[in-house]
Symmetry: C3
């Protein structure tokens, strides 16, 4: 059994942003040489998410709208205070909570060297507190 781990750097450009990472995941499965197994995709941050949806710009805007509706910027949060570890005020409580709702990881089967997804399933890296330099991990497990 092989376990091959790729750490992918990504520079986001907006406060909230859905970035289609499906082609990158597909490439890495091919690079790994794994024919049968599972691919795990996860973000390494707590103010980002990984989600799957149909790859349409209007749905990307609707997902952005949803998480801003459910976790409004103007609410009062405990995580809004001086953080000694960061040397600055924390102002990103909503980013953390939006991530908790969307989740930050997905998996898909690999069959005959190919990812098994539905025809409309697009894998998104979701920036929730950008722009920032970010990273996510793609782990390919199998034989």
């Amino acid at each position: 059994m092989k376990s091959i781990i790729y750490r992918i750097e990504i520079q986001t450009r907006h406060e909230t942003e859905l970035i289609n990472i499906t082609p990158r995941v597909i490439d890495l499965i091919q690079t790994s040489g794994v024919k049968d197994g599972t691919v795990f995709v996860l973000s390494l941050h707590t103010t980002t998410a990984i989600t799957v949806n149909e790859g349409l710009p209007d749905l990307e805007k609707d997902i952005t709208g949803l998480i801003h509706n459910l976790v409004p910027e103007e609410n009062t949060y405990y995580h809004a205070r001086f953080l000694p570890s960061d040397g600055q005020m924390a102002v990103n409580a909503p980013s953390h909570l939006r991530g908790a709702l969307l989740g930050f990881q997905v998996f898909f089967p690999i069959q005959d060297g190919k990812i098994l997804t539905g025809a409309r399933q697009t894998i998104y890296f979701v920036e929730l507190d950008g722009p920032q330099a970010r990273a996510y991990v793609v782990q390919v497990m199998g034989e």
Copy 2:
């Protein structure tokens, strides 16, 4: 290590509907012959979900109520326009967003040939834009 993938067809009957697929998952683990490993269950659509909860009809109604409350039909959505790829108006933005909140995949350990779940954990395929012909995947990995 074995990786055995089953694609299960399912015909839903309602607009929103929670269908208990636990017995099917248990059967497929037994069919696979895998004794120690993990089972992965995922939907292949972006307007469905996979969730786990106690298998009670009143909770199924409460989950339906929750996602309709959090993602109301009457809100304004960007994904509400003519889609050339489908040849019709998109009217299912809420279905996509409800799926994003519930998630669309779960896993469970397999121990001595049996799925390891809590006594009250029921695996549900959740239709969010039905009725439709749907499919989900059960992948059994292990030895």
Copy 3:
């Protein structure tokens, strides 16, 4: 390939409570001897959750606030009736729904015998209907 499954008992102390289980997961990976693979962490209950966030007490309060806002105690729920199987009234519909929003399972890669997480990622067991005696599972898969 090894699959080693640990069942961890935990006594919660509050109605809603986030308990950092990261050190326990790290210990179990070391105990397992697995060097390359994946760790799966899942709760065995339907009124608890597993979530990942930055390990700060103020964020724990904000997550608690979020799920209480999105699933208010005072709403009307179907799951609020006499349950013959339990011999008492069900009063915990909100606990079930809060769990459905947060999810109840996560995974992380294992590389060189160590869990691969982001620097700020803390794994939480989330009590949503406590205090109770609870259990979660840590499965270590790999070689």
